[in-house]
């Protein structure tokens, strides 16, 4: 899985689930798009679907400091690396 594929999927999730078209990569999501803790939980479920793998509680807690799309992509990249599995194709 390339970084490009991860970015594309995260942007798809943001469009589909959060009605955010082409989000800026480095803006604070809360400030720019009113992305809150409820959205974060929904996003983690979407990431689990994308990876085809459940996240551990520890991994979920790590996500709570994330503020930008780029950081989300970093996070997913790391998770994918840990699992060394191909993401579920949609």
């Amino acid at each position: 899985m390339t970084r490009q594929e991860i970015e594309r999927e995260i942007k798809n999730i943001f469009q589909r689930e959060f009605e955010v078209e082409n989000p800026e990569m480095d803006v604070d999501l809360r400030e720019a798009y009113a992305f809150d803790s409820i959205d974060a939980i929904e996003l983690l479920l979407e990431i689990e679907k994308f990876l085809g793998s459940e996240l551990t509680r520890e991994e979920k807690k790590q996500a709570m400091d994330i503020r930008t799309i780029n950081q989300i992509c970093d996070y997913v990249e790391k998770l994918a690396e840990t699992r060394k599995v191909a993401p579920v194709k949609k």
């Binding site: 959060f18 009113a34 809150d36 409820i38 959205d39 939980i41 929904e42």
Partner: protein, 412 residues
């Protein structure tokens, strides 16, 4: 310290229209909002009562996703009337978010539509994916105070939150407790009301208690029939109503358009049976309301009766009205147009008399063709009257033995 409390905005979504123009037009034309009960793929086929007070027109919502995500259908209704009331009041944003304004808003049990989806998981979940379908927001959409807090979130309101869920007295308590919060200086303003969404389970509950109308399934507009000989029970309905209550000097200072003044409120309990109407209990409520408003029974021009069109309930209410108010006030049963809008009924049935005060008319009780002689000792309205209304009393009684009365006066 007791302060005067005025109403500086009101709005309603009802089975007979959305907002004053549509609602007044329906009242003047005698339009009923009662329609055939919708098939729900669950319990509707077992329900004997096939009628429902239905909002069958589109409501033009314009809520951003950040708000929609925690809203079930009941919160859509609530937030829409709240939005209209805030706009109509002209209160500035810095006041709305200052903590000087609170919200008193409720529904009878949150969002049954969302709860139904959660229950499906209990009974049908076969794997983890089903379990995960219970979203993080389902509780926020379905909890009993979902209307109140979705309003606070959408408009940044930081004052008190009161969210009564006392069935048919939910929004009369909202207005009453909001009135007390402003009257005693706890808040400068309170946004008050109630809402309930389309829900067949509520119909099933009343149907099983033999309290629902069943004799007019083929002619829905002919029921409910409060105080009429042929009445055969209530008709469940959906809707929402909201009022802005504001401290009088505050409203006056900013040049607000004052629609009416809340002059009294009372609430008590029958202290016994949770279902049966109780003459002693509601008679006391009406007397307490008059004492609280510091007026005489003869001062009341109009009584907006609870009058659900059940056999016993209407008789007991007529007896209480007669005992307390005598033959003086006109009595109208607005559920005859709307059905029983549950948590919204207290607010809606306070708002419609405000419209009548403003326009100088009294709407008749619909379907009241042949007055039951046991209810005949009060002054019923059977045709439109062009009469000024100065003081109106809205009375509501709920399962649980809760009784309320809200008294309003035309502002001059």
């Amino acid at each position: 310290m007791e302060r005067r409390v005025v109403i500086t905005a009101c709005s309603a979504i009802t089975p007979i229209g959305h907002g004053k123009d549509q609602i007044v037009a329906s009242l003047l034309k005698g339009v009923s909002g009662v329609k055939t009960l919708r098939e729900d793929q669950l319990v509707s086929r077992f329900i004997h009562s096939k009628v429902y007070g239905t909002v069958d027109y589109p409501v033009d919502y314009d809520f951003k996703r950040q708000y929609r995500k925690t809203m079930g259908p009941v919160a859509y209704y609530a937030c829409q009337v709240a939005k209209e009331v805030l706009e109509q009041s002209g209160l500035p944003e810095d006041f709305i978010t200052s903590g000087k304004m609170g919200v008193a808003f409720g529904s009878i049990h949150g969002s049954p539509t969302v709860q139904r989806n959660i229950y499906k998981v209990f009974f049908e979940a076969k794997d983890k994916a089903a379990y995960q379908s219970i979203g993080a927001v389902d509780y926020l959409k379905s909890m009993v105070h979902t209307t109140a807090v979705n309003i606070t979130k959408m408009f940044g309101i930081t004052g008190r939150v009161i969210s009564s869920g006392t069935a048919c007295t939910t929004s009369s308590q909202s207005i009453g407790y909001g009135y007390e919060a402003v009257k005693y200086g706890l808040q400068e303003a309170m946004l008050c009301g109630g809402a309930d969404e389309y829900d067949t389970i509520t119909v099933a509950v009343f149907d099983n208690l033999l309290a629902c109308s069943t004799a007019f399934n083929s002619e829905p507009r002919r029921t409910p029939r409060p105080f009429d000989k042929l009445r055969d029970g209530l008709v469940v309905a959906e809707g929402a109503g909201a009022v802005m209550l504001e401290e009088y000097e505050h409203a006056k200072k900013r040049g607000a358009n004052i629609l009416a003044e809340v002059i009294g409120f009372a609430c008590n309990n029958n202290g016994g049976d949770l279902i049966l109407p109780n003459l002693d209990g509601i008679t006391k409520t009406l007397k307490l309301g008059l004492e609280n408003a510091k007026i005489n029974a003869g001062d009341v021009d109009l009584v907006s009766a609870h009058a659900t069109a059940t056999k016993m309930g209407d008789i007991i209410e007529a007896q209480a009205i007669s005992a307390v108010f005598g033959i003086n006030p006109y009595v109208v049963a607005l559920k005859s147009y709307l059905g029983h809008t549950m948590a919204a009924c207290g607010a809606i049935e306070t708002i419609l008399p405000i419209y009548m005060m403003q326009d100088g008319f009294i709407a008749p009780t619909l379907n009241l063709e042949d007055i039951d002689e046991r209810c005949a000792m009060i002054k019923h309205v059977q045709k439109i009257l062009q009469k000024p209304v100065k003081i109106a009393a809205t009375q509501n009684f709920a399962f649980g033995g809760v009784n309320t009365i809200v008294l309003i006066r035309k502002f001059s």
